[in-house]
């Protein structure tokens, strides 16, 4: 990895609400290089979307408190003026969202909405911008671009709408594309088409991509790196291959065991993660995951784990208070078909408390 495109360091985002301070993002660090694809995985409320919206400057508000550093090509975005950030948005960094129907303006034609995105950053005449839209529609696989350009969003199918969103994001050839749950609102058959499209465009255009999802299955095939987020923190960060083959955080295990896999027996039950995501207003003490962790020990309620590299693999970082050897034994037992309670007993972690 040469100089990174996007470098996020110790980012904190808090919102003041009527119910109290919401600690949405609590000190995350990661980087994305040109041509790299990073997956950010986590439940809703884990801070994955908020952190990327903050990169774009879209969480700036009277009630938000943002700390840390976000650098894009070496330039600090958190201290940039609103106007400087506006110039970056949609030009250097583009974003696509979960629900393409609600993300497109219902009263404007799709072509016009993309022309607008082009003209916000480049002084080009309408006719040239329209030609560019036709070209973009071809690139993202929208048939009959010249007819579709004048369609309203409600006249297109879900998959076509998301292609329009992608075309809009690509309009100014961004260096970084942020895709926030781009397939969640789509039919299963369309999901893989959209994912393939994003992967192909990333290769062809050499963009950096951040793919946000709650579904490990989505990131498995297309990303190089995965960051798993929980309660506003990254709890595990490794190559995609490592996350699936040798995960070391109990939350990652929970995610992996709760998705069906073809290489396991049909009668093997899916294991859900017990409990609910924590309140971001009153975060749990110590390790944020401790109330739901089957392997919790008394000190875990007090001590906050740091995201630390493994001794034998510095590219694999985990925030867990169990030692690495214990974690590997438990994962091996889980792989062998043991339930979480049996694995706990075998690892001699003491009575579950």
């Amino acid at each position: 990895m040469s100089s990174p495109l996007l470098q996020v360091d110790d980012l904190h985002v808090r919102f003041a609400t009527e119910d109290g301070i919401v600690n949405a993002v609590n000190g995350i660090s990661f980087s994305v290089g040109p041509g790299e694809m990073l997956g950010i995985v986590g439940e809703s409320g884990s801070g994955k979307s908020v952190s990327m919206l903050t990169v774009m400057g879209l969480t700036r508000a009277a009630n938000s408190d943002i700390a840390g550093s976000v650098r894009f090509q070496g330039r600090d975005l958190l201290s940039a003026s609103d106007e400087d950030l506006r110039r970056v948005r949609g030009d250097d960094i583009a974003m696509i969202f979960q629900d393409p129907l609600s993300s497109l303006h219902p009263f404007y034609r799709v072509g016009a909405q993309i022309v607008e995105a082009i003209q916000a950053h480049r002084d080009v005449p309408d006719s040239a911008a329209r030609e560019r839209v036709v070209e973009l529609f071809g690139l993202v696989g929208i048939p009959d671009p010249r007819q579709r350009i004048d369609a309203y969003p409600h006249e297109l199918s879900g998959g076509m709408r998301q292609r329009v969103m992608i075309a809009m994001a690509l309009a100014n050839e961004p260096k970084l594309l942020i895709a926030d749950e781009p397939t969640t609102a789509l039919d299963v058959t369309v999901q893989s088409q959209i994912l393939d499209l994003i992967a192909r465009l990333q290769r062809e255009l050499g963009m950096g991509v951040v793919l946000i999802t709650h579904d490990l299955g989505v990131v498995a095939e297309v990303t190089e790196q995965i960051a798993v987020m929980y309660a506003g923190k990254i709890v595990e960060h490794a190559s995609t291959q490592k996350i699936f083959a040798a995960p070391e955080h109990p939350y990652t295990w929970g995610l992996l065991q709760s998705i069906p896999r073809l290489d396991r027996g049909r009668d093997e039950p899916l294991v859900p993660i017990p409990g609910l995501p924590p309140s971001l207003i009153n975060l749990p003490s110590g390790c944020s995951f401790h109330p739901r962790c089957p392997y919790v020990r008394p000190p875990h309620r007090r001590v906050e784990p740091e995201l630390e590299p493994l001794a034998d693999d510095p590219s694999h970082r985990v925030a867990c208070l169990l030692d690495s050897a214990t974690r590997r034994r438990i994962w091996a037992d889980l792989q062998a078909g043991l339930g979480p309670q049996a694995a706990r007993a075998k690892a001699k972690l003491g009575e579950s408390v």
């Binding site: 970056v88 974003m95 609600s102 993300s103 303006h105 009263f107 607008e116």
Partner: protein, 317 residues
């Protein structure tokens, strides 16, 4: 779309017949003064004579039949019981004044309401927002006749504390002197517009705050639009219900504004209908009611058609 409009226009005719029938029924069932006595004064013989001449001794359905026959065959709205003038001519003479009041007030309340609502939404929860919305609540609650009298007592050139604007009874038709016409209508316009402006400001503010939280506004920001364009995106959605409300409100007011025309003594259709009711003058009542109903029905049609152009998701078939 054309077929839809034709079908709606046919409904206009049906509704107008229903309205005329109801007006007749109400006039004859509810207690009312005898128009012949009102005109003849303390002279029973004269009253009988008038009753006979106006056909008031015929049963009501026969009177209705004659009325409708004249209306359909000759576009004739009959003659006033009180003054014998043609109702149609009277309405034509009075309409410009009512139009002047309604259109002028609409221009004021739309521009001020939209501006105030937008600014309040974008500055929501600030002192400015709270102050304007509080003032708007007062304006909505203030009755037009009270506000009109207060305005006259404060600002009219004859009885006012500050001799700023022309007072009651100063209306001059546009065709006669545009400058005096404008001057005489300033106070009626603002008095009539006050509560509408406040209502529209609150309506637009609410819509705008809701719309500015929509996903497509986030998209507009994410693609790097200037804040001015982002607000335009929001306003484009938030204004649609305002246009609908404006169409209907203007439709109602075109048929005459009884309170404002009475307070400021403007010879419009509103004051005409007020006088007609006082005189139990059925042909005049019928004429003003039909005119008012016609504008309301027409405004509904215009609003529905306009909606299809404002919101591309709406299509009539």
């Amino acid at each position: 779309m054309v077929r839809y409009i034709i079908r709606r226009l046919l409904w206009v005719i049906v509704l107008m017949i229903a309205v005329s029938f109801l007006t007749f029924i109400i006039f004859y069932t509810l207690p009312s003064a005898d128009p012949a006595v009102l005109r003849a004064g303390k002279n029973p013989a004269l009253a009988d004579q008038i009753r006979e001449r106006l056909g008031l001794n015929d049963p009501w359905y026969q009177q209705y039949w004659i009325y409708m026959k004249n209306l359909v065959l000759h576009q004739d709205l009959g003659y006033s019981y009180q003054s014998n003038v043609s109702v149609k001519q009277e309405l034509i003479d009075r309409l410009p004044a009512s139009f002047s009041v309604a259109i002028g007030a609409a221009v004021i309340w739309l521009t001020s309401g939209i501006a105030i609502g937008t600014i309040s939404a974008l500055r929501s929860r600030t002192l400015l927002d709270r102050a304007t919305m509080g003032a708007a609540l007062v304006a909505i609650s203030a009755p037009v006749y009270w506000l009109g009298l207060v305005a006259l007592y404060l600002f009219s050139q004859d009885i006012g504390k500050f001799h700023l604007f022309m007072g009651a009874g100063s209306y001059v038709p546009f065709s006669q002197d545009p400058w005096l016409w404008f001057g005489s209508l300033i106070m009626p316009w603002f008095v009539l517009a006050a509560s509408f402006s406040a209502f529209y400001a609150r309506l637009l503010r609410g819509n705008m705050i809701e719309v500015m939280g929509e996903d497509y506004i986030r998209t507009a920001r994410a693609k790097g639009l200037r804040e001015r364009s982002v607000v335009r995106h929001g306003l484009r959605s938030a204004i649609t219900p305002v246009v609908t409300a404006a169409g209907l409100d203007i439709g109602v007011l075109l048929g005459g504004t009884i309170l404002v025309e009475t307070v400021f003594n403007i010879p419009g259709v509103g004051r005409l209908s007020y006088e007609a009711i006082q005189n139990a003058d059925l042909p005049l009542i019928q004429g003003t009611v039909l005119l008012g109903a016609f504008f309301i029905i027409l405004a509904n049609l215009v609003v529905d058609v306009a909606y299809a152009y404002l919101d591309p998701r709406v299509r009539y078939s």
